[in-house]
């Protein structure tokens, strides 16, 4: 089953990357007709967005679409690409919020503009601000571009409208989740609604949205949509819990992401929230002394991880994750899917909670 998933995913990635290279390339050309410096912005977007990323949302959407009996792969491909252009917007804007200048191991849009503006006569802070301004505009263009890809597709007008409305719902949820997540750092661990954030930022945006779009494209009935929604919600929560686990216990060599970063940042994850709730007074003393400190040592991080295990938060989180994964499977079995798509999506659920990156 893993082999099927992997080759299918590779094919989708390849198709999406080709469509995105075409999209960004065309717009760089159009922008260049206005001004060469505008073409540069599109080329920066292309360099980050056209060949990187897991393409998870297109994969979810296209697998569900074909599983529901949809057989117009070429016609719906631009919609899958639109999900990635939207994702490019969110990554570009999230990187501004997080002061990040690197994405996929290379300079992101702001990072490229920081280099471009390096020789101008201004302070570092000003240079960063100008670089982030270019990235802000790039993100706006990608947000509008997601709609554009849908609107310019060869789908019937009614379908374009329905899919675009679903896209808007994804954005409405994601931005709300991002706001709450950004503000969470101002709140004590117990004050953060981590489940709502996971629901909005991960479940709706990464799973419910793409699944509902697949249902619209395949002209599925309301009952099917409802089951897909249930599945996407449960899978999204399980996925986020797994993400938090990886952020804490993941192997940096595999995840490509620091496993101390979330702790230093004091990120309000469900597992850390439960750790604070379940810790003994003595454990709590250590947690409060080190979590959220930029100067946390590896030894302190290991002590925190030991507390996460000892207090029962790890076991509780894993149990909850399994519960949601099981819920996702149950909901999935309600969906009238072709067998191979069902198998793919079951494998996706299993992989979501077992993944190492």
């Amino acid at each position: 089953m893993k082999a099927i998933t992997s080759s299918k995913l590779d094919m989708i990635r390849n198709d999406i990357n080709m469509r995105l290279a075409e999209y960004y390339g065309d717009h760089a050309t159009q922008a260049g007709a206005m001004h060469e410096d505008y073409a540069m912005l599109w080329r920066a977007m292309e360099s980050v967005g056209a060949s990187n990323g897991k393409r998870l949302r297109p994969y979810v959407m296209l697998t569900a679409y074909e599983g529901l009996g949809g057989d117009q792969y070429d016609m719906v491909l631009p919609v899958a690409a639109a999900l990635e252009v939207l994702h490019a917007c969110l990554l570009i804007h999230d990187d501004i919020i997080d002061h990040d200048y690197v994405r996929y191991g290379q300079p992101n849009v702001a990072g490229q503009y920081r280099a471009r503006y390096a020789h101008e006569n201004m302070s570092e802070a000003e240079r960063d601000h100008y670089a982030n301004s270019a990235a802000l505009l790039a993100g706006d263009l990608a947000l509008s571009g997601a709609y554009e890809l849908i609107l310019e597709s060869s789908l019937p007008a009614e379908v374009k409208v329905e899919v675009s409305r679903a896209l808007n719902n994804m954005i409405f949820a994601e931005a709300g989740g991002e706001l709450l997540d950004t503000e969470a750092v101002f709140l004590p661990f117990e004050g953060v609604d981590t489940m709502t954030i996971a629901h909005l930022k991960t479940a709706v945006y990464s799973f419910v949205g793409p699944l509902l779009i697949a249902a619209i494209l395949a002209d599925a009935d309301d009952e099917t949509k409802h089951s897909l929604e249930d599945m996407g919600y449960a899978l999204g929560i399980a996925y986020q819990l797994a993400d938090d686990l990886l952020g804490l216990f993941g192997d940096e060599a595999v995840t490509g992401k620091s496993s101390i970063g979330d702790l230093k940042e004091g990120k309000r994850t469900f597992i850390m929230q439960r750790t604070f709730a379940l810790a003994t007074p003595q454990q709590l003393q250590l947690l409060e002394a080190v979590v959220g400190r930029e100067d946390m040592t590896q030894k302190q991080a290991d002590e925190v991880r030991q507390i996460v295990r000892d207090c029962g938060a790890l076991a509780e989180t894993k149990a909850l994750m399994s519960k949601y994964a099981a819920q996702a499977k149950t909901a999935l079995l309600q969906v009238p899917l072709k067998k191979d798509a069902q198998n793919e999506l079951i494998a996706l659920i299993e992989k979501a909670i077992e993944r190492q990156s």
Copy 2:
């Protein structure tokens, strides 16, 4: 004629403001169902966007629409409101780029969040960053919201698609213009393509776009669209030149905007570009010593204004502005418009270059 224009504009403003209050209010309610802190973002957007602004773009669109024979005012009103929600996005994001925290004489979205986060334990720079992050998300929501208003309207699906595509074209042009305008400060005056910036940022976004949307809604033919495009382009350039004049010679009490700000900033306007080109070596010395300096005095600003007059740049700019206004009128007369709409739009052109604010 002025009286007609004014009462028509008042009616449109009123209708748009009501529609926008409903839009923002509904979304604050929806956001509140997710989390109270998310509702707050929508209320901040509402406080700035629902009752302020000239409503120029809706006015242009609705006047042209009715002039072209469109008689479904209520049905197209959401599209006019969408232009204002898009405009809210651009103002919110431009204010981030310009480090502005005030809009329409009151705190903008970032300004409201700066106050909200004032009591958190962090540096001023961090607080500003968090406030701007909230504003960044608010702008994204407004950008998507512009599409949403169109998609949720009761227009036929084909029309929704065409109008949304026109909206995307406006965004593509505006973001390009904004990028070039932001980068202009790195270039010497003679190196800036001020006409391309005016074309993208002002003509396409404020006039061509709304006029073409009116034509789509009224099902006008290609020739009409072409003439409207010509008119919008010429009017947009004239409007931008008038804007630059007001930024330099305007009465602050009337414009509500500093008339030394553009000079201190060294803003790359057409009129200043011509001033640098036409100045004598002696005049150039003074210009280079003071333009673009934050500590410029009123006396120095007056000296610069005198040079703008003496070197001929003022006369040249006014002549060019009149030429474009005349071009706009000529193009307008090619459009098969009802008489009262034609009069309204002629008055708009005249007012654009004679306006005091």
